[in-house]
């Protein structure tokens, strides 16, 4: 085994980990605050990639402008989805929420497949991020470095917003005890809608980051959403920090597995998830109860 191979797989793993972290983060926020397992997250990620592609294709809007527009566009999709569908799930068995968001996924995939087929749509790396750095032992594509750095920054900002700001305190209060939060005058329904929109915005943004690296197609979110759920479980259901750290480390673990146990690499995350469910249910990766 060569060092190049190891380093290469680790970088690839961290790239995947960046997407796992961004998606799990949104899932954890939505699960924590709305108590909804948002199975539409993969389709919302796909929507972000499609929107980035569409902005370029139909409006000539390039990558850098697309990023904020996709975040806002996906956030708006989240607001509408919450207002039309998700809101009705707050007072019923959580199982209905799973079925509903799964149905939303199928509807979104169906609509996009109808118009764009299933073959991938091309979206190239923006000129400013194309090329690679020669590190001697390996070539490091600049776009991948950008995705990792951007994901780390976005995860940190999201964590900071939730843990350290006024609005974050309101969200945490609404999570811990929504009834009491309302009795103090907080607008809990608005906080829930904002949390859902924010989570969907993050999923869309992850989709835009993915557009130049993975194939843009209506089915692109269907597998990664399952991984993202496994990561949320590993990080501790609803734990923000746990989701971020588990996202990056599960990506890296998957990369290492490709080197050391290639036959297990596709399932290593699920093996960890099953172990967590069996041996540490209800505890986040820091050992705190969630």
């Amino acid at each position: 085994m060569s060092f190049q191979l190891l380093a290469g797989q680790l970088v690839l793993g961290l790239i995947n980990g960046s997407f796992y972290a961004l998606l799990s983060l949104g899932l954890a926020i939505i699960f924590g605050i709305l108590n909804i397992a948002n199975f539409a997250h993969g389709a919302q990620y796909m929507f972000g990639a499609m929107l980035a592609w569409g902005l370029l294709e139909y409006a000539g809007i390039g990558y850098w402008y697309a990023l904020p527009l996709v975040f806002l566009g996906a956030g708006l999709l989240g607001l509408l989805t919450e207002a039309i569908f998700i809101r009705r799930m707050y007072h019923v068995d959580p199982l209905y929420g799973i079925l509903l968001t799964f149905g939303i996924t199928l509807m979104m995939q169906g609509v996009f497949r109808n118009y764009y087929g299933v073959s991938g749509l091309p979206y190239s790396v923006p000129a400013s991020l194309s090329g690679s750095w020669n590190l001697g032992v390996m070539y490091l594509p600049i776009y991948r470095v950008w995705v990792i750095v951007a994901a780390v920054v976005i995860c940190f900002l999201t964590w900071y917003t939730i843990e350290k700001t006024r609005i974050g305190a309101n969200l945490r209060a609404a999570t811990e005890n929504p009834t009491l939060a309302e009795a103090f005058g907080l607008n809990v329904p608005l906080l829930k809608a904002a949390a859902y929109a924010g989570g969907v915005g993050l999923a869309g943004l992850a989709g835009a980051f993915a557009a130049p690296v993975y194939s843009v197609n209506p089915m692109m979110g269907s597998e990664i959403v399952i991984v993202a759920f496994a990561v949320v479980v590993i990080g501790g259901m609803g734990s923000i920090k746990g989701a971020i750290i588990a996202g990056f480390s599960m990506g890296a673990l998957e990369g290492l597995a490709k080197v050391f146990w290639p036959e297990f690499s596709a399932m290593v995350i699920y093996i960890v998830m099953v172990a967590v469910i069996l041996y540490r249910p209800g505890v986040d990766i820091f050992g705190r109860k969630v």
Binding site: R166, A169, A173, G185, L186
Partner: protein, 241 residues
């Protein structure tokens, strides 16, 4: 004060035939009571009598409630808890309701300011030096006494003029109970309208203008303070049976 002079003042908080249910089971039966502006009224009653349910009904926290709750002449029976809070009714709930995942400072700053005239942080810290000392601690790291101070402090900030205090001394050491009594006395001097739920009758007797005794979800007695020793004896006997 006699019942007649008392009734001359328009009450700040006026409950009329208030009934409430937990699911199918009825918990309150036509509860009527008044708290005049700046007055302190204590709800007395044994465990399970319905005192907390009255507090929750005023705050809009019961799924089903009927009758009338007027605050400063406004009917609130159809309003959500949030709207009721924003009208200026502050809750210091049973078990204190401190958010464990928030720091002390975040707990303190959580309820939105509903009116001008709330206490400044400086003033609050003068009243509760412990709260200032523990600002960065997590809510669930506080002692019971500190939590109770914080629960009161966080409402004083908002400018709410009426405060519902549900068993503020429960399970606390005598020194802390005394500190809370002083706090309630100074709140009374500042003109807050207070509805106090209290099992500790001696405590309630010192700070209250009037007493409403609850039993099985009904008002069974009303007394105007200051109480004579015979009245004190009879209430105490009722509560201890």
């Amino acid at each position: 004060m006699t019942a007649d002079t008392y009734s001359l003042v328009k009450p700040a908080l006026e409950l009329r035939n208030l009934s409430a249910w937990y699911g199918e089971s009825r918990a309150l039966y036509d509860v009527s009571l008044d708290v005049k502006p700046g007055g302190v009224v204590s709800l007395l009653g044994r465990n399970g009598a319905g005192k907390t349910t009255i507090v929750k009904s005023i705050m809009g926290l019961m799924n089903r409630r009927e009758g009338s709750v007027r605050f400063e002449n406004r009917e609130t029976i159809g309003l959500s808890p949030r709207k009721i809070a924003l009208l200026g009714i502050g809750l210091v709930p049973e078990e204190r309701g401190i958010f464990g995942t928030l720091t002390v400072q975040e707990n303190l700053m959580l309820p939105p300011v509903v009116r001008d005239g709330g206490m400044t942080l400086e003033r609050i810290f003068d009243l509760f030096p412990n709260v200032r000392a523990r600002l960065t601690a997590a809510g669930n790291a506080l002692s019971g006494g500190e939590q109770q101070m914080l629960a009161i402090a966080r409402i004083l900030r908002t400018g709410a003029r009426a405060i519902l205090l549900d068993e503020p001394t429960e399970g606390l050491a005598p020194v802390i109970v005394q500190q809370i009594r002083k706090t309630i006395e100074s709140m009374k001097e500042m003109g807050f309208t207070i509805l106090l739920v209290e099992q500790n009758f001696d405590f309630a007797a010192r700070v209250s203008d009037a007493f409403v005794v609850i039993e099985n979800g009904r008002v069974v007695d009303r007394l105007e303070g200051p109480l004579g020793s015979a009245e004190i004896e009879s209430v105490r006997r009722f509560l201890s049976v």
